[in-house]
């Protein structure tokens, strides 16, 4: 498999007043195209920071990040925003749907950043909602949906622009076990059947079992790696 994400010597440092905190230290990592990687570790281990760097939400203090052949650590904020719109789909723990919009309007948001026509956008939105099994809930607002359904809408939003990479930050952290399993199964299907490369941060060892690989982090460094199952 080809390497989709290449991370070399990446460090992330935060400065608060006179205090400097090294969150990530000289980290190297390759993620293959079509992989489903679970990042695990205790709170403060740097897994979400790493995920944000991979997703282009943040920039490293040092090192190099290449995604699909593009060096993203050197992009400006504006370029990074355009890059994210084209290459990354995000799934958040608390779904982060816009409450005033219907499910289909939420899913359509990333497509507003493309040059697709309204008709094409509508078609793609319908397809994405169908993939997550919510075609019949298109006009519902988030408040009219269960937690699991809201996360499915969020996944549809992450998929709709056909991104290179899906980054999921604790996607089941706010769901009960049964619903979490459904969501993880959906992510697994997206990985297996649609070839989506997924990087998922989780605290839940059971959730990590759905991934093809698992990486453990501690104190800003990778400590173990291996197949999940």
């Amino acid at each position: 498999m080809t390497t989709l994400v290449s991370i070399r010597g990446v460090a992330k440092r935060y400065t608060r007043g006179k205090q400097t905190v090294d969150v990530l230290q000289a980290l190297d990592l390759d993620i293959a195209s079509g992989d489903f990687l679970a990042l695990m570790g205790p709170s403060g281990s740097g897994k979400t920071t790493l995920l944000n760097l991979i997703g282009g939400l943040d920039k490293p203090s040092a090192g190099e990040i290449v995604v699909d052949g593009k060096r993203i650590d050197q992009l400006s904020s504006g370029q990074l925003a355009k890059w994210r719109a084209r290459h990354v789909g995000f799934v958040f723990q608390f779904y982060n749907l816009l409450p005033v919009l219907s499910a289909e309007a939420n899913v359509e948001l990333p497509l507003l950043l493309t040059s697709l026509s309204k008709a094409q956008r509508k078609k793609n939105v319908a397809a994405a909602l169908a993939v997550v099994g919510l075609a019949d809930r298109a006009t519902h607002k988030p408040s009219e949906l269960s937690g699991g359904q809201q996360q499915r809408v969020a996944i549809a939003r992450a998929l709709v622009a056909d991104p290179t990479l899906l980054v999921c930050d604790e996607p089941t952290g706010d769901l009960d076990r049964k619903t979490a399993d459904e969501i993880l199964t959906l992510l697994q299907q997206l990985n297996r059947n649609h070839g989506k490369t997924i990087v998922m941060v989780t605290h839940d060892a059971k959730a990590a079992e759905y991934a093809t690989h698992r990486l453990d982090m501690d104190k800003g460094a990778l400590v173990t790696s291996g197949d999940s199952h």
């Binding site: 939400l57 943040d58 925003a81 994210r84 958040f92 608390f94 982060n96 005033v100 950043l113 939003r157």
Partner: protein, 394 residues
Amino acid sequence: MKFLAQMFKLISINLKSVPARWGATLVIVVGLAGVVGVVTALQSMSAGMVATLRATGSADRAIVLRGGSNSELSSFFTRDQAIVIEQAPGVAKGEDGKPLASGELSLIAERPLRRSNTDSNVSLRGIGPAGFTIRPELQIVEGRSFKPGLQELIVGLKAREQFIGLDIGSAVQIRGSLWTVVGVFASNGDAHESEVLVDIETAQSAFRRNGYSSLLVKLDDPSAFQAFKDSLTTDPRLQVDVQNEVEYFSSQSRSFTKTIGVLVSVVGVIMGLGAIFAALNTMYSAVAARTVEIATLRALGFGGGVVIAATVMEAMVLALIGGLIGAVGAYAFFNGYTVSTLGAGFTQVAFSFRVTPTLLINGLVLSLFVGFLGGFFPALRAARMQIAVALRAA
């Protein structure tokens, strides 16, 4: 195009979320309604006064006052001086070949105001037949004109509206003599409608003034003014000020409009600052309440410029709604509302508030300006927030 589509989508999202924060939103709407309403009302007062005084007079008429007098009340001519003035070049002649000149006497009479029942000054003008000929706009609309030699008077429409006891048939005590109201006149809504007119000869006799306060002349045409003025101001027998009648009445409103202008500026700035802070507060709250939404949109790829534009536009839309309410309120409550105030001659000049289209547009522009300032800084904060940090606020 994509930028606009994104911006309109964000504005639509922002506005849809307004019902969820009505209280904060009302601050900006009500604040701007108040600012625009008050500023527009004050400006309409000034506009009404200016319009009334500027409507008074004609370009082909000139008024002559004693040199150094700033109003008719402080001016005085002898009859002989009046004859010299009438003979100056540029003065039009009537059908009878006589100069069209009206020597007039200006006095103050006290009458109680209807609105407060307190005494105030009404302008009393002694006027002869030439005064009516020169002012064709002056028309009797009720009753009849006064008869020379009788202590009769006619009242302007606005004077009757403002003062008690000026209805036809009323007897009016003025400076120790009793006068009867016999008619009401209109004068195109100008400043003369706030006056009371009496026969000049009768007034001179009753009030022991053997001369005139001013002389109004009709010129051959407006271009004759300079020759007329030069002739009088270079005549060693006279020491006079000569003004075009339009200019004279415009100058009477200058100090009033200046005062109102200062008032509008002070009130406008204070209220405007208050509204800007209210708008800032509202928009900062709105941005704070939507931190995660904005961060999510930024994560999805929406640019900082779109977020700024949408937040500013949201503030401007809300401010415009407030501005519209204020402007409509000012129009509904004040347009045409008639009041009176002391003019330059210490007499009451009645005028109507005029909420003109220009004032309404100015009010709306003001609201948009306040909305822009109130939205810009919160928008900047929204656009500059670190996405990764803001997402953790969920």
